[in-house]
Amino acid sequence: MTILEFEKPIVEIQKKIQELKEISESSGMDVTAEIETFERQAMEYKKEVYASLTPAQRLQIARHADRPTFLDYIKLITTDFIEMHGDREGMDDRAIIGGIAKIEDKSVVILGTQKGKNTKENLVYNFGMPQPQGYRKALRLFNHANKFNMPIVTLIDTPGAYPGMKAEETAQGTAIAVNLREMAKLNVPVIAIITGEGCSGGALGLAVADKVYMLEHSYYTVISPEGCASILWRDASLAGTAAEALKITSEDLLRLNVIDGIIKEPLGGAHCDYEKISDDLKETIMRAIYELQDVSPKKLREQRYNKYRRMGVFCQ
């Protein structure tokens, strides 16, 4: 498992406790009380560290190599997932995966960006950066949900839409724009969750939703902190400064009224406890579905429109 810089002291303490345990076992000395005290102190320390992380440090958790991916969540929160491939126009973009499934007793259309956990997987999933065809596949699935009256759940973890030559030639901008417009017209509940990176139009193209949630350590921004730093400060190494200035944490976005709620992560981040984070994710999704399922399509569209209509801060 990858150990982040700020995790090192915690890992160090845990190692010492382990050593102490081994010594007590081999020597027959009873140090249970001491170990308990140490463990309590270690826990307190860990809580303190995670409560005071900088945006740049949380960025590392959001991008952690072991962070649960879309397919991990599919395994843990859905039953009977059937993948639906392709945009029906010539391509099956692997950066966006989706299909039909059951979450508890509800049939849903669920889709999201998929990242790999190693280089080999990342080459398959293109690091979670969709091509225009991925957004078109998503739209096809949205329309399927609309036709068969199923709620839509999207899980988003992407560094952005892929900036490539072919992506431009096949209209990346248009593909995202069309999704924004068509998501506004959907008659079924749409629930979007930023699970890791929520970068720019690439994330928004799956996130025009009735309810938008973020995992505690995920981030959602108009541009990656690295991109912003290299444009505004002309120095990509100032990404930490940019991350702070851009106000990209889940708490910032809740304060700015852009999202509807935060899903707390297990201590140490989502990668420390897949089951716990999946349970909480599932609970949030179900709560949203129950809240929205009896709202009429017309009302749903109206509410969604008004939600985005209100966004923005200006003087008048």
Binding site: A161, E168, G173, L180, A184, V222, L246, M311, C315
Partner: protein, 288 residues
């Protein structure tokens, strides 16, 4: 270096120069300007009389929103709306300079409140709502004010049941408003959905340059999409793509012609032809 390489390099340098500054160089004096595209020395008045198009090589220079409006709308018919909406600084953003200061500088430089002018006017007698973007104001970037004014203009079109035209010129979303800028993409696209549902005509005119969050929202959602000659239009910037794919891109990459070749726009218009073209389209969609 082979002769072919030399030509390639020369072409690339020309593009680099063009990308750096596509406006005319008026440092040569008050009367004369220089075309960056063909290097010709030109009389300023000749360029102005020619709709800011180089009389020698036909290259279309960038123009600001007010010039665009005066070129397109019948004299005295354009009524500006929502001009009182101005920029806030919700994130209290500061990079090497504070956002407030950048806004103040942009206002002083352009004599505009923000990067878009909204209004209602007549094009060859045909009434339409319009939002015209201005690249000179912070690179035409879309923050809360641009998103709000574009949306309000579309809602005005809905209220009056008239067509809507968006003329874009933008580097993309405004970083200084971060997530709130991103949300303007959703807001404006949702407003386009309303125009669609009401059956109102929505035309977009993409001008040099149109990129990022504006491309990926209301710019590419026109019922009819016109690109102006010599415009560069795309989602990601050329440099970002080159760094990602680690190969150089074709010389005409992301030009109006390139987009036309790949079926992304309906047509290309030169500046002189734009007004009559818009008038014809508006007339053809008039309900008899």
């Amino acid at each position: 270096m082979t002769v072919k390489d030399w030509f390639e390099q020369r072409k690339e340098m020309q593009i680099a120069r063009r990308n750096k500054e596509t406006r005319i160089d008026d440092s040569v004096g008050n009367l004369w300007v220089k075309c960056y595209h063909c290097n010709a020395q030109l009389l300023k008045k000749d360029v102005e009389d020619n709709l800011e198009v180089c009389p020698k090589c036909g290259y279309h220079f960038r123009i600001n929103a007010r010039t665009r409006i005066s070129q397109l709308f019948d004299e005295g018919t354009f009524e500006e709306l929502f001009g009182n909406i101005t920029t806030a600084d919700p994130l209290e953003f500061s990079d090497t300079e504070s956002y407030k200061k950048r806004i103040a500088t942009a206002r002083a430089k352009t004599n505009m409140n923000e990067a878009v002018i909204s209004g209602i006017g007549k094009i060859d007698g045909e009434i339409t709502a319009a939002a015209v973007m201005d690249f000179e104001f912070m690179g035409g970037s879309m923050g809360s004010v641009v998103g709000e004014k574009v949306t309000l203009t579309m809602e005005e079109a809905l209220k009056r049941k008239i067509p809507m035209i968006a003329i874009t010129a933008s580097g993309g979303a405004r970083m200084q408003e971060s997530i709130l800028s991103l949300m303007q993409m959703a807001k404006t696209s949702c407003a386009v959905a309303k125009l669609n549902e009401a059956g109102l005509l929505y035309i977009t005119v993409l001008t040099e340059p149109t990129f990022g969050g504006v491309t990926a929202s209301f710019a590419m959602l026109g019922d009819i999409i016109i690109a102006e000659k010599d415009a560069r239009i795309g989602f990601a910037g050329r440099r970002v793509i080159e760094q990602t794919i680690r190969q150089s891109l074709p010389a005409d990459f992301q030009t109006s012609g390139y987009l036309m070749k790949y079926g992304q726009i309906d047509m290309i218009s030169d500046r002189a032809g734009l007004k009559p073209l818009l008038a014809r389209i508006l007339r053809l969609h008039k309900k008899s």
